[in-house]
């Protein structure tokens, strides 16, 4: 079964067409990246799959569940990490993980989820401090921990390393990879072409709301006779 199947997806904001008939699939156990510049439509596509936005036309299914009809079922098996997301500032990191875990289980199940979150976030004693006191990198690690602690069947990650320094970004990428090894499919967006080569099994290049090319990074580099994905992207949109 496909983790995600998007067919001819169109999303309009009033008169503005943010996504113009894109189609792609994400396989189980795969990291699939939507790659493109700011304003290309990556976040909108991710928000549609994450059940946050309505579909103008086309179809989206997540592990066979159709959107928007079965949005409730989809929310049980996905985890979404928005770009520049925050956490509740008056809670400690641990309280925040507890709050989220309770939506996915009670008692021991909830405690196991929190334990996984603590391990992924790896914030040591600082997990007991209020989120308000965290640095950007710490908050992002907490949020990645929150997103992956529930062992989602599909993790939707919008610019997962956005704003992080090299060390924190590398740590987050390791966490994502280990989560995929545990069986999670990942749909992510990024405009960091280097990160994409390191992380994604397959990618789709998106520009002006349309997918201009898709495949593995190796395939795309070969197709556009490019030394790297950035070069392939530039050639693809010309």
């Amino acid at each position: 079964m496909k983790a995600v199947e998007v067919r001819e997806l169109v999303k309009d904001y009033g008169n503005f067409r943010a996504i113009n008939g894109i189609s792609f699939e994400v396989n189980e156990g795969e990291i699939f990246g939507l790659i493109g510049p700011n304003g290309a439509g990556k976040t909108t596509a991710l928000r549609v799959v994450a059940t946050l936005l309505q579909i103008t036309s086309g179809s989206v299914t997540v592990f066979g569940y159709e959107l928007p009809k079965e949005a409730g079922e989809v929310r049980k098996i996905i985890s979404y990490l928005p770009e520049e997301a925050g956490a509740y500032k008056n809670l400690t990191g641990k309280e925040y993980l507890n709050f989220i875990a309770k939506f996915f289980g009670e008692g021991e199940k909830s405690q196991n989820i929190v334990q996984r979150g603590l391990e992924i976030a790896n914030l040591g004693e600082r997990i007991n401090d209020k989120v308000d006191t965290y640095s950007k990198g710490m908050t992002r690690r907490l949020l990645v921990g929150r997103a992956l602690m529930v062992n989602p069947r599909l993790a939707i990650l919008d610019e997962p390393t956005s704003g992080l320094d090299v060390l924190n970004a590398q740590e987050v990428r390791k966490i994502i990879n280990s989560s995929v090894e545990a069986g999670t499919a990942v749909l992510l967006s990024s405009h960091n072409m280097l990160e994409v080569e390191l992380l994604c099994h397959r990618i789709a290049l998106i520009n002006d709301g349309k997918i201009v090319a898709s495949g593995t990074t190796a395939e795309l580099k070969k197709e556009y006779d490019a030394g790297n994905i950035e070069e392939a992207f530039v050639k693809a949109i010309k």
Partner: protein, 422 residues
């Protein structure tokens, strides 16, 4: 340099979204003031009364002369029943009955008795202005009689000269006949017993409303809303959870406020009034109805707040959105304090009924007068209002609006357009 900063601050703070609520509220207040009427004009108007003079003596002649000059007489006969009917029909304030032997009693060094039958229309502060004017007439009658007593003979008891009449009063109000109280006394009693509730309701709505609107603003500012909306929880549960949580915070905050306020109010309390003596005491079921009315009004207010909160872009804009709720709560409080529901113009009555917070403010006074239909009707209306508002909120939570509102257009869509142009 300073001018540049002032210009920037002004531009940032003086926006259409901050201006519109102020203008709307100013218009509403002006309209309410216009509709309620002018206190000065009401006081200058001659009170409409009826007189039954069964004495025909020297002192009743003085009374008649004063009353004829200073009041609009709509009945001047000998039948009290007929007079009362006429006063009621002509929307008058009171019927004054001067009994037989009125003058004779005064000449015998006994105060003359005047029977006053008050037709009370409302229990608001402004509703008692007309009866206050009649009280002034009685003073003028006393003054006239005192003058004659001093001129005629100095052997009268000084106490009689100072106060030559006594009153026997009966007030008719909303089907009840309250003996021994004037309309002003009854109005003051009803107001003093029920004044705390409008203030509690106003504080509760403002405190809890601010909490729920701010919560929405903070969710957007801290970017936690998107995460919340993708969790496996029904949108209706998110809405209800926010309402209940905010209601608890509001109740705690209003409770703390009211502890201080009740201490402040108690310093003005002259004596305890036993409402049961006048057949106005409330029973358990009445208090239960007041509680239900308060609870449904709070839910209605908060459900309205959560709908308003969806328009909040951030914490700061959320503060501005609290203003309409504050204004509505204050309008309800002032109208119900100053006027009785039955004595305000029809348009204002519709406005008061439509504002859900008004109902608990009016409930206590209405129940004292056995007006169950207003209270139960109010509860039913606020319950329906709450359900509709929650449905609207859930619908907004299920739509794109929450994320693609103006803030998203500016950040998300603006970014998209900017990227598109690049």
């Amino acid at each position: 340099m300073i001018g540049n900063i002032v210009k920037k601050e002004f531009k940032e703070l003086f926006t259409l979204s901050t201006l519109i609520p102020i203008v709307v509220i100013a218009i509403v207040f002006a309209s309410v003031g216009q509709m309620i009427g002018n206190i000065g004009e009401t006081m200058e108007e001659k009170p409409v009364i009826g007189i039954v003079d069964m004495d025909g003596g020297d002192f009743s002649d003085i009374a008649m002369a004063v009353l004829t000059e200073r009041a609009e007489l709509i009945y001047d006969g000998n039948d009290a029943e007929e007079g009362l009917e006429e006063v009621r029909k002509e929307n008058g304030v009171a019927l004054l009955v001067i009994p037989e032997n009125f003058s004779q009693d005064i000449y015998a060094n006994h105060p003359g008795e005047i029977e006053i039958y008050w037709i009370m229309k409302g229990a608001g502060m402004m509703d008692s202005i007309s009866s206050g004017t009649v009280e002034g007439l009685i003073q003028a009658v006393n003054q006239g009689i005192s003058t004659k007593l001093i001129q005629e003979d100095s052997s009268f008891d000084p106490a009689l000269v100072l106060v030559p009449t006594t009153r026997v009063e009966t007030t008719f109000f909303k089907g009840k006949e309250v003996e021994g109280l004037s309309a002003s006394q009854l109005g003051n009693m009803l107001s003093s017993q029920s004044i705390a509730i409008p203030i509690v309701v106003m504080m509760l709505i403002i405190m809890a409303g601010a909490s729920v609107i701010s919560s929405m603003g903070m969710e957007k500012e801290n970017k936690t809303l998107e995460t919340l909306l993708t969790l496996p929880v029904r949108r209706s549960h998110i809405v209800i959870g926010k309402i209940v949580g905010s209601a608890l915070v509001g109740m705690i905050m209003a409770g703390i406020y009211m502890i201080g306020f009740s201490r402040y109010m108690s310093s003005f309390q002259i004596s305890d009034v036993n409402l049961a003596d006048f057949g106005l005491a409330l029973g358990m079921q009445d208090y239960l109805l007041i509680g239900i009315s308060l609870f449904t009004a709070l839910l209605a207010g908060l459900s309205l707040c959560i709908v308003l909160g969806t328009f909040a872009k951030n914490y700061r804009s959320a503060q501005a959105l609290v203003f309409p709720i504050t204004a509505l709560a204050m309008i309800s409080m002032f109208i119900t304090m100053f006027k009785d529901f039955d004595t305000i113009p029809a348009v204002l009555r519709i406005l008061v009924f439509a504002i859900p917070f008004s109902h608990p403010m009016m409930a206590m006074r209405a129940l004292m007068m056995d007006n169950y239909s207003l209270v139960i009707g109010g509860i039913a209306y606020t319950a329906v209002f709450t359900v509709i508002m929650i449905a609207v909120a859930v619908r907004i939570f299920n739509s794109d609006r929450l994320l693609t509102g103006s803030v998203q257009k500016r950040v998300g869509l603006g970014k998209l357009v900017w990227g598109f142009r690049r």
